[in-house]
């Protein structure tokens, strides 16, 4: 979409006005500073997703809409988790983090901050593995997605 003031609120407003769900939403400028790219995760029946696509296309600031889940794509989300890390737990947390290919990016006597990227389900699995009692704080970016191979979102 056009990297213009208000473009994001047009999208967000459309979802609330028409009763659609936003699971997550990420947006930032692209290599072309006049364009922003948004990845929006939503759930709905085929007809609802079809309407969402059409309604988004109608927004004047939206340049192009594709449904990434129509084909092969990669999606990735970044998460930072602050966990309580005490005694023998510290080792166990480190091991679990390694299994999930995460990194510990900050440490104190009592806590770690773990950085983890991957699909939403991988991040969910990591949180499950850590357990509720260990987790002090979580922040997630929401998924960013891109089509595989020749599947490119181009603007003419």
């Amino acid at each position: 979409m056009e990297n213009e003031a208000g473009a994001l609120s047009r999208v967000a407003g459309l979802f609330s006005a028409r009763g659609y769900n936003i699971e997550s939403l990420t947006v930032a400028p692209t290599e072309d500073p006049t364009l922003s790219r948004m990845t929006l995760v939503t759930v709905g029946s085929d007809s609802v997703v079809e309407q969402i696509t059409k309604q988004l296309n109608k927004l004047i600031d939206v340049v192009k809409v594709i449904d990434l889940s129509d084909g092969d794509h990669i999606e990735c989300e970044l998460m930072l988790v602050k966990v309580s890390a005490l005694g023998k737990n510290r080792k166990e947390i480190k091991a679990t983090t390694d299994i999930f290919c995460g990194r510990i990016v900050d440490t104190t006597d009592t806590s770690y901050i773990i950085e983890l990227t991957g699909t939403c389900s991988k991040l969910d699995a990591f949180l499950d593995a850590m357990g509720h009692s260990t987790i002090l704080e979580t922040v997630r970016t929401g998924a960013s997605g891109i089509g595989r191979g020749g599947r490119t979102l181009e603007v003419k």
Binding site: E2, A5, G6, S9, G13, A17, K54, K58, I60, D61
Partner: protein, 568 residues
Amino acid sequence: MSAEDLTGAEITIRCLQEEGVDHIFGYPGGAVLFIYDELSKQDKVKHILVRHEQAAIHAADGYARSSKKPGVALVTSGPGVTNAITGIATAYMDSIPMVIISGQVPTHAIGLDAFQEVDTVGITRPCVKHNFLVKDITELAATIKKAFYICSTGRPGPVLVDIPKDISAEKFKFSYPTSVSMRSYNPINEEHPEQLKEAIRLIMGSKRPMVYAGGGVILGNATSQLTRFVQMLDFPCTNTLMGLGGYPATDKQFVGMLGMHGTYEANMAMQNCDVLIAVGARFDDRVIGNPKHFSNKDRKIIHIDIDPSSISKRVRVDVPIIGSVSNVLDGLIKILMANKEKPKQEELKSWWAQIDQWRARDCLKYDRKSTIIKPQMVIEKLYKVTKGDAFITSDVGQHQMWAAQFYKFDKPKRWINSGGLGTMGFGLPSAMGVQIANPKNAVACVTGEASIQMCIQELSTCKQYNLPLKIINLNNRYMGMVRQWQEFFHGNRYAESYVDALPDFVKLAESYGHVGMKIENPNDIEDALKEAFKLKDKLVFMDFITDQTENVFPMIPGGKGLSEMILV
């Protein structure tokens, strides 16, 4: 600063001149004073001063609906904009091309809760096709150009341009772009040869065909194509409330309006057809009622519309054709002309026999011998006296439905009403816009004593600009449609629908300098109308005292299906 540098206010007016705008409707205020100052220094763009900003938008709306040009309105910041919202939402729901210019507090004051500040772009976002806040004088002319382009292309709609006061004072070299190119906005206008062929295949195989045409035919100037298409095929045709005049109402193939208060024959044919050709219509809740009930019957649907999001929104369609209605119909007509084949004539004949049986039900009958004025009779006489050639605006309620049922519109853009939003107060100000766009034509506003009071202050505007409207007030002392629903669905408990303490409308009209008439006897209706329409340079307020108990029939109760009508 070179001699060609103009202020933002001058640029704004020059842009309007370049767009060929002859009238704008507005109300001044602090944030637009520079613009008003420039307006007063020229005479190409004439300003119509309304008495309330809502009326400015409705008037611009009426202007647009009855002409081929977008309407233009000018309002100030804060309350100027919030008063305009009802009008903007009305235009948005009915896809009316319009440009609204609003003043804003100076850029340095935005966000500081300044006097008469409101987040105009934010507050209007859900009810405009697009809006702009101009934060840089260098972008002003291009933005206004874009606004006119966006409002009138693709599916039309209102576009708002918010201009901060300092921008209207700042200077910049003026040049008006000759064209617009936007990578993010390319209104669809393609042809779909395969879809057209598929549509023709369904049409040829149909046994009980039906053409259902909406406001898209009027907005897309496709009346002649629709008429030709329907008549080539000898198919029945219905119009939605927004589509009236899109197909000549006096033609034998017209089965009347459909929907909640549509005719028995139109609704039955819609429900029982096997191939439905929807043209510039959107299957809304007041048209097909309950979509589940509608889907109970098996039929193939061809849907022609310029807006892809209208396709398969409420009803799944089989052959979507996205494009301008006139282009698509032209394409279909071309194929039909080249094609020797005709739809199944035997089946079509028996389909018409079935429709004629439904017609014989005479669903619009009413007591013509009543000694109290029946509102339906007023509309019939209005039709007769104006020879069916007046521009008719309406407010919202029973009178609106009677006007739609009993005034037979043979031409497009003659029937002006708030179909989507259902805005009471629309009738009088929109009639002002219609009269200004069509100074030589008769313009009547069919209204009720409740609706008219929502924008009655505009009688003053009508006097100032000598707008000789004929106001047909169907006065039953009730918010009639509310009363009807209360009678049918709320145990005759008329909660707050009786309008007490009404003004003497004759005296009220006279106090504004107009002519007032009160008509209480059915035998006087025609003569009074004749007399009123003879007063070509006067606004005549005709207060018809009508039967309080009259209801609009047929009626599909909310949530029911097309064939579940309550009949008289």
